[in-house]
């Protein structure tokens, strides 16, 4: 089945293209737009973006594999990213990740069996002064304790 953007996202794309001198420059923003709708960047999405921007599909595929935020396979409804890099690790990121894994019954990199939550580790998310932290979808949760982690995950699973 071929991929198509919803009407409002098509409009966003038209606006996007006015910002740049080349169509190629809209590649990453358009991939974000597609992933927002589709959940991941499927082969159909790659073809769609290539056609829209007059690019070889190989170029688009190259971009997709370079950036860690583009999902190359389906993921859960919610994305949980736990920062694991040193400044967070010094303030207990290890315990935060452990708590997430225990609570969700999965390891980092996996999705819960009900398809609700994908748990991953992230490299530094620029929140070192409020460590440890995790990102849930678009929101940052900072100065975490295991109790706070429980509360956040409980809310997410409802």
């Amino acid at each position: 089945m071929s991929f198509a953007l919803t009407a409002d996202r098509e409009q966003k794309l038209a606006e996007l293209l006015t910002r740049y001198s080349t169509k190629m420059a809209a590649c990453i923003p358009l991939l974000h737009l597609c992933q927002e709708q589709n959940g991941w960047v499927s082969p159909d999405v790659v073809d769609f973006v290539a056609r829209k921007l007059d690019l070889p599909p190989a170029h688009v595929q190259g971009v997709v594999t370079f950036y860690s935020l583009f999902n190359q396979k389906p993921v859960g409804k919610h994305q949980v990213w736990v920062c694991r890099t040193l400044p967070c690790a010094l303030r207990g990121a290890g315990a935060v990740l452990h708590q997430c894994e225990k609570k969700l019954g999965i390891h980092a990199g996996e999705t819960t069996s009900d398809g609700k939550i994908t748990l991953r580790t992230a490299e530094c998310l620029a929140s070192c002064g409020t460590a440890p932290m995790m990102q849930v979808d678009q929101d940052y949760f900072e100065n975490l304790t295991t109790a706070k982690v429980d509360e956040i995950l409980d809310r997410l699973r409802k």
Binding site: A25, P29, F66, P87, A89, L90, R91, A126, C128
Partner: protein, 452 residues
């Protein structure tokens, strides 16, 4: 010397502090851009900017005014201003505060910057994870546009300026300016060979200046008070390192956070006066002075500058923790100021485990273009991993130095140095701890990053 200032941070924490109303009310926002555009020529702006001694806040510390002066108008091509807000250096958390709490300083800085270098479009490259930052910047752009500060005739002057937010998609390397430009053009974020430098061929092959977000946000303040006065806010004004900066404190301190100070506090002042001391009242084991790519400093280290002409001579024999933090002073003590956010590691932390954590980061974030960095980073990580398992020999420990030294200088961009320098820093300054793993006197099970 600690000198608190409030140029950027005055609106932090105020109700609606990020709005145009508050920005105009509290710090006379946009009056400076109006004044610059309506009363100065671009050349005058660049000349004035040089007096600020504003060293790039992204890590390399290149003087902003000098960088602006590299821009030459091209007969057919437009020029671009690109703002680097791909904040992702481990231990760095300053730019986010500006975007979230004072986005208008960035927009006003962009207007002045565009005018100075002859650009009509500025792109602010923000890492995609920072959703609130992006929303605040777009909000600020919309407000400024509605008032006529951006668009075809900012402040009534026929000098069109547009500002756009562009996002990445999760790649630390896009903080390197040429990788950022590739990413902005819709490509894989792989750094380019220099020359040509961005000032000759940047975005779409056109003349481009890339400034760090904190650098451009400081521009309105510098021009408001006069760039010479701005420079004098710094304790290191005499060695051309001027103004105020945002200092970040994180890791094992009681009060982590971000604080705005005149350039030149010491590590001891940041840890004890600002950070409230070390967690659990432990001693400091070491400090990473400006993001994970900068080699660690230990409190026992002293300054060795017997030559009276050395800029560090005044601190000869003193602890490196008592030297004012500046671009050149940190270079003088064998490390770098970097992004100016310090990470404190308390006694009891395992330095081998800390290095292992950072090597995981560099292994993950290498773009893979250059063999020494791609393979070397992975090799460093594998060897430290073996070491933690008590499976490495003394020869392999020595080999870590060779691997790191063979990355250095052999790659397209500075990411290679960014991997090798902190690795060598840990290896040289914690040799006994590394050897203890070879001899089986320490093991991974007892190693911790969170000494209680």
């Amino acid at each position: 010397m600690i000198k608190r200032t409030e140029f950027l941070s005055k609106v932090y924490g105020l109700a609606n502090g990020h709005s145009l109303d508050v920005y105009e009310r509290e710090v006379a926002g946009y009056a400076t851009a109006r004044n610059v555009l309506t009363s100065m020529t671009p050349q005058q702006v660049v000349d004035e900017a040089k007096k600020a001694n504003l060293r790039g806040r992204g890590g390399a510390g290149f003087p902003m005014g000098v960088k602006w002066s590299f821009m030459r108008p091209h007969p057919t091509k437009p020029s671009y201003l690109v703002i680097n807000a791909d904040e992702g250096e481990p231990g760095t958390h300053k730019d986010r505060t500006i975007m979230e709490w004072n986005p208008h300083s960035v927009i006003e800085g962009c207007i002045i910057g565009c005018y100075a270098i002859g650009a009509h479009v500025a792109y602010i490259y923000v890492r995609d994870e920072l959703h609130l930052s992006k929303a605040r910047l777009w909000g600020a752009i919309a407000e400024a546009k509605a008032k006529g500060y951006l668009g075809a005739t900012p402040f009534g002057k026929a000098y069109p300026v547009e500002v756009y937010v562009h996002t990445g998609a999760g790649a630390y390397i896009c903080g390197e300016e040429t990788a950022l430009i590739n990413s902005l053009e819709g490509k894989r974020g792989e750094p380019r060979l220099k020359p040509p430098f961005p000032a000759q061929a940047g975005v779409y092959g056109c003349p481009t200046t890339v400034n760090n977000l904190e650098t451009i946000a400081a521009v309105p303040s510098a021009f408001r008070m006069g760039c010479d006065e701005f420079s004098k806010l710094s304790a290191l004004h005499a060695i051309n390192d001027g103004g105020f900066r945002l200092y970040g404190i994180n890791g094992h301190v009681k009060k982590p956070g971000v604080v705005e100070l005149g350039v030149g506090p010491t590590l001891n002042e940041l840890i004890y006066d600002i950070g409230g001391g070390v967690t659990g009242d432990r001693k400091v084991m070491c400090v990473i002075p400006g993001g994970s790519s900068t080699p660690v400093l230990r409190p026992e280290e002293t300054v060795d500058a017997p030559d009276e002409k050395s800029p560090l001579h005044a601190w000869h024999g003193k602890s490196v923790f008592d030297v004012p933090l500046g671009v050149d002073t940190m270079r003088g003590v064998g490390t770098m100021l970097g992004t100016c956010c310090i990470t404190v590691l308390a006694e009891g932390t395992c330095p081998v485990l800390a290095m292992h954590n950072l090597m995981q980061f560099y292994r993950h974030e290498s773009c893979g273009q250059c063999t020494p960095c791609r393979e070397g980073g992975a090799w460093l990580l594998r060897t430290v991993d073996k070491l933690l398992d008590n499976n490495a020999t003394m020869q392999e420990l020595d080999q870590l130095h060779d691997i790191a030294n063979n990355i250095m200088g052999n790659t397209i961009c500075a990411f290679g140095e960014g991997t090798a320098m902190p690795a060598l820093g840990f290896l040289k300054k914690f040799r006994p701890e590394f050897e203890a793993y070879v001899r089986g006197e320490r093991n991974r099970k007892d190693a911790t990053l969170t000494p209680s």
